[in-house]
Symmetry: C2
Subunit: 571 residues, 2 copies
C-alpha cells in the first residue's frame, strides 16, 4: 500500500516538503492541508504587494512561470492533493490520524504514516486599550495584506502608525510612505531601529535614509493605548498622540504550536517546536519546519529562532528528503538578513555587537567605509561595513552593513555570512579572497579593509569613536577639552576651521609629519577625515610622537553625513 504523508500548513515549508517528497516517491500519497483558502504564497513579499511593487496578490502565489499555486496546480503539476480551507484540529499520534474540519464545518480523520507540521506563527498583539479597534493589522497573512491594500487604493489612509521598528515594521513603513505618500510614523520601544540586529551606528544611517523618505520615527517610546470609536483614530504613546487611519502592529510573532503541544510533542521554553537536525520532532514520524520551530544558532551554539521564508524552504527540502528515507540535515543558522530601506539596504549575519555582549562575548564592533569598487572606476559608491569580533580570541561573531540597494555591500555581507559557520578568526576576513577586477571590487577590498581595521583595533593601534560618541563631544564642544584635527585636504577642512577656529584644526595627513609641533598637547584629539583611513594613519603617527589621547571618527565624515549627524558649518 502506498505511504500516506500529511502536511499541515501550506505556505512555505509545507509545500516544499510535500513536493520534494513527491518527486522522490511518486508512488506515495501526499495531502497538504491549510486552514486558509490562499496557500503557497511568498509571505515575505507582502510589503511589496502593499507598496505596489507587486501589483496583484496572485503574483505572490505564482511560480516563476506564472502559474498560480492553487489546489489544481498542486494536483496537476506536483501530484499533491492540496486541501485549502481545511483546519487541523487534533493530532492522534497513537492512531496516526489528524482530525480536520473542512470548509463546510464537517470533520474527518485523515490517516498518516508520516506527518509534517509547518503552521508558522501568529503575530503578537500589544495588550493595551483599543487593540481590537478596526483598521489595526498585523500583516500576519495575505488576507490582512489584501485588506490593507484595499484601504489604501480606495483612498482611506492618510496617516498611518507602525508599531515596531523591526523587519516587518520598517518594510511596511516604507511600503506606505514611498509610493502612496501616506504620512507614516514608526513608534519603537527601543532606542534604535532594528534593535538586536545592527549597531546604533548602522541603525542611525538606515533611519536617516527613511526619514529622508518621509517617515517619522519615535524611538524609546512606548504605545499606551490605541484610540477611536469603532475604527482607530490615533495612537497614544507615553510622549504624544499620533493620529492614524491605519495601524500596523509589528511587535513580533509568537508560536502557533497549540496543536503540537496538545499532541504532546516537545516544545521549547519560548513555545516553539523542538526538532533535531533531520527536522524530526520528539515523535520521529512527525517532522516540523518553518517559523514554528526552534533551530540552533550556529554562532552561539544555543537554541535560536530565525523566522524567514528562506529557512522554511530549505528546511522543507530537508524534510522531503528525509520523509523519503534520505538523511539530509539542517544544522542551524547564522542569522543572515537584508532589508531594503528605500534605495539603500541594511544587511547582516551573525551577532550584532549588542547581541553578542548580551550573549556573554567580549564583543566589539569595528566599522569601515570604502568604495565598493575600485576608487578610480567611474561607477562606485561608498558602503559601510561593521565587523563584530570577540576581543578574547579574535573570533568573528558577525557582520552588518549599509549601502546602496544595488551596491557591493550585499555581496560582502553574504561572503562573510557564508563562512561564519566555520568560526573564522579576524585574519580570515583580512585575507578573504573575493573575486576582483576594478568594475566589481577594490584591489584591497573593503572586506579586507574591514578585517585589517579590526586587527588594528585588537592590536591596540586603532581607537575609534562612534557616532554617538562624536555627537556627544560635538554637542559639548564649548565646555570640552577636545580638539578636532581634520586630516583631509585643506579645501575640505577650511570652512570648519574658519567657523570653529578654537577647536577645529586643519592638518592634512600628508603634512602631519612636518607639522607635528602644531598639534595641541594635553587635549583629547578627535581625528577626522572622509572615510577614516587618513585619520587612522594620523592616529598612528601621533601615537609615535607621544599623543596617546586620540580617537579616530569611524567611517569618517561620509558616515556622519549618512547618519544625518548635524555638525556642519550651517549649524
Amino acid at each position: 500500500m502506498s505511504e500516506n504523508i500529511i502536511v499541515i500548513g501550506a505556505v512555505a515549508v509545507g509545500p516544499k516538503a510535500a513536493c520534494r517528497f513527491k518527486r522522490l516517491r511518486q508512488d506515495a500519497n501526499v495531502t497538504l492541508i491549510d486552514q486558509d483558502e490562499l496557500i503557497s504564497y511568498g509571505g515575505c513579499g507582502i510589503p511589496y504587494f502593499i507598496s505596489g511593487d507587486v501589483s496583484d496578490e496572485k503574483e505572490l502565489r505564482s511560480t516563476s512561470f506564472h502559474m498560480v499555486r492553487d489546489d489544481i496546480f498542486f494536483q496537476d503539476d506536483k501530484g499533491v492533493a492540496a486541501l485549502p480551507g481545511t483546519k487541523a484540529i487534533k493530532i492522534d499520534r497513537k492512531n496516526k490520524t489528524v482530525l480536520v474540519r473542512k470548509r463546510d464545518g464537517s470533520e474527518k480523520n485523515l490517516s498518516y504514516d508520516k506527518l509534517v507540521i509547518g503552521v508558522g506563527t501568529r503575530p503578537k498583539a500589544l495588550n493595551i486599550p483599543g487593540a481590537s479597534l478596526g483598521n489595526i493589522y498585523s500583516v500576519g497573512n495575505l488576507n490582512d495584506a489584501i485588506k490593507i491594500k484595499q484601504m489604501i487604493t480606495t483612498g482611506k489612509v492618510e496617516k498611518a502608525v507602525v508599531i515596531g521598528a523591526g523587519f516587518i515594521g520598517l518594510e511596511m513603513a516604507e511600503a506606505l510612505a514611498d509610493m502612496w505618500q501616506i504620512e507614516t510614523s514608526v513608534v519603537e520601544y527601543c532606542d534604535q531601529i532594528m534593535p538586536g540586529f545592527v549597531s546604533r551606528n548602522l541603525s542611525r544611517m538606515a533611519q536617516h535614509r527613511m526619514e529622508e523618505g518621509g517617515i517619522s520615527f519615535y524611538l524609546d517610546e512606548s504605545v499606551e493605548a490605541i484610540e477611536g470609536t469603532d475604527l482607530v483614530e490615533s495612537v497614544k504613546t507615553n510622549k504624544r498622540t499620533l493620529p492614524a487611519d491605519l495601524v500596523i502592529m509589528a511587535v513580533g510573532i509568537g508560536p502557533n504550536t497549540d496543536l503540537a503541544k496538545d499532541a504532546g510533542l516537545d516544545i521549547a521554553p519560548g513555545g516553539f517546536l523542538m526538532v533535531n537536525e533531520r527536522m524530526q520532532t520528539s515523535d520521529p514520524d512527525i517532522y516540523a519546519g518553518g517559523d514554528c520551530i526552534q533551530i540552533k544558532n550556529l554562532i552561539t551554539d544555543k537554541p535560536g529562532y530565525f523566522p524567514l521564508g528562506s529557512m522554511a524552504n530549505r528546511q522543507g527540502r530537508v524534510i522531503g528528503t528525509n520523509l523519503a528515507g534520505g538523511d539530509a540535515r539542517f544544522k542551524g543558522a547564522v542569522g543572515s538578513f537584508v532589508i531594503k530601506t528605500f534605495d539603500m539596504a541594511l544587511a547582516g549575519a551573525g551577532l550584532s555587537v549588542e547581541t553578542a555582549k548580551k550573549e556573554g562575548f567580549d564583543a566589539v564592533g569595528i566599522q569601515v567605509a570604502q568604495f565598493d569598487r575600485a576608487h578610480f572606476y567611474p561607477e562606485k559608491e561608498i558602503i559601510y561595513l561593521e565587523l563584530v569580533v570577540d576581543r578574547k580570541n579574535r573570533r568573528v561573531l558577525g557582520i552588518q552593513g549599509f549601502g546602496g540597494e544595488c551596491s557591493g555591500m550585499f555581496a560582502r555581507v553574504n561572503a562573510v555570512a557564508s563562512i561564519l559557520q566555520y568560526h573564522p578568526g579576524v585574519e580570515a576576513i583580512s585575507n578573504l579572497e573575493l573575486a576582483y577586477s576594478p568594475p566589481f571590487a577594490s584591489a584591497m577590498d573593503i572586506i579586507n579593509a574591514l578585517g585589517n581595521a579590526a586587527e588594528n583595533f585588537l592590536d591596540g593601534r586603532y581607537t575609534p569613536i562612534s557616532f554617538d560618541g562624536f555627537e556627544e563631544c560635538w554637542q559639548n564642544r564649548q565646555d570640552d577639552d577636545c580638539v578636532y584635527i581634520d586630516c583631509r585636504a585643506y579645501a575640505d577642512a577650511r570652512v570648519f576651521e574658519e567657523k570653529y577656529p578654537d577647536i577645529w584644526k586643519s592638518i592634512p595627513h600628508n603634512e602631519l609629519l612636518q607639522r607635528m609641533d602644531e598639534v595641541p598637547k594635553n587635549k583629547k584629539l578627535i581625528l577626522v577625515c572622509n572615510t577614516g583611513i587618513r585619520s587612522y594613519e594620523a592616529q598612528i603617527n601621533l601615537a609615535d610622537k607621544g599623543f596617546e589621547n586620540t580617537v579616530s571618527v569611524e567611517a569618517g565624515v561620509a558616515a556622519l553625513k549618512q547618519a544625518g549627524i548635524d555638525f556642519d558649518t550651517k549649524s
Copy 2:
C-alpha cells in the same frame, strides 16, 4: 640603529608592504625602488583607462582621496623613501646589499636588513615573424597603456586584433570596441574564450554578449605571423588574414625573476619565486609577493599561480606585518575572478570543470538558471551559475557564473568563493544561508537551487544536456531519433510545434501526468523549458513511467538564447 628595509618593485605588493611595515615601525627606514618612473598604480585598471572609463592615467596612480602616489606622496604621507627610475641590478645576499642603477646611469649599493621583492611579470610574446613590428603592445605596464590610448585618441586605430581571449585580451577587446567603436577581432588558440576558467556553456554566453557588442572571435585558430613594414598591417592566422592598425598581445605572462634567480633564491619549475606562508623566500631575510611568486592552490593543494592585484595587496600587508616581527600568514588562493563583458559579468572561483578533470578529479559541472531576486519582485534578472563537483565524494571544487554586471550573480559566486577553502560538500551549497528578502534574493535562492541540482545529478535523478550537446542534436534533427518535449505553456511552445511537427511536441509540465500516453516511446527525449525547472520535473515524472532515455536542457531556453544558439523558428 634603525632597521633598513628595501623594497624592489613599486606597483602593488611593494608599496603595500612598505607602508604597512612603516606604520608598524615608524623608526625604521624604508626604501621603495622601481625601474619605472610611474609607480604605485592600479595595473588592473589599464583596460578601463584605455576604454575611457578612467579618463586620466593619474587616476590609476591616485588614492581614493585624489592624491597622486608619487615619490613626494610616499615621503610626506607615508614616510617611505620612494626612488622611481631606479633599477635593481644585483642582490648580494652575503653582504645584504642591492646594487641599483639610477636615472643618471650611476650605480650604487644600498644596504638592507630585510628585502622585499615584488617585481611582477613580463608579458609573453609569440615567437612568430613580425612580432617586433610597431604598434604591437602587450599592455604590460602603464607606459604601454598611455601609448595605446594616444594612438586611439588621435584616430590612428580603425582595426585592432587582440591575440588571446583570457582576462587581458577580453578586457582590452571590450575597451577598444565599446566606446571607441574600433573594429576588433580576438584570435584564440583554444576552442573557447576564458579557457581553463569557465565551461564551454558559460564561455559561449559571454562570447555571444561580446559579439553583440561588435567583437569578432576566431577561436581554435593560431596566429602564424604579424605582417607589415615598420608598423603592423595585418595578423595572419592559420585560417585568415585580419587587417590591423593595432595588435594587443595577450598571450600570458612570464616570471620576472632573473634578479632573484641570480641571487640564488629558490625558484619553482614555472620560473616563479617560491615563498612560505609568511611570504619568505628561501632566504628568510628576503620576502616576495605579487605576480612574481607561486602560491598554493587551496583547491588542489598544489602550487598555483594567481597574478591579481588583490592577491598582491593582501600579500603586501602580510609581508609588512612580518617584517615588523609579526606572524601573518598567506595560505594560498582559491582563484576567484570576475570580468566585465559589456553590461554582463563572468565570474568564478575554484576550478572549472575542464581544469578539475585535468587535475584528476572526477568532475562534473552542473548549471542552473534562475532570477537573482524573488521572481515576483519587479526588478530582477535571470542569472546563470555552474557548480563543479567531484562525483566521488560530492566535494565542491568550483563555481562559475554569468549574469548582469549589477545582478546578484557576483554575490553568489563570492559566497561560494569564501567557503571553498573549507572544502565544502555539495550539501553545504544546498543549504548555504544567504541574506534573504524579496528585493535581494529568492526564498529558495539560486545558490541553493544550484546545490539542489548538483545533488539531484549526483543522486541519478537529473540528466542534463549541455549547449554543445543540444546544438549537435538540433543540427542533426533530420537524421536523429530525438524528440523535443516542450514543457512550457502551450503559448510558448506553439510556434516550434507548428514548424517542427515531427520532432517538437508541446506537453506543458502540468499536463504531463495526464498526457503520458502521448509521449513517444523508443525515442531519445530532449526536455525543454525556460530555465530547466519544469524539464527537470518532467524528467522525474517520465523516469517513474519507464522513460529512461531523456535529457533536460540545462538552464533551458533562456540559456540557449543567451549563448546565441540558433534554433528558433526563424532558422
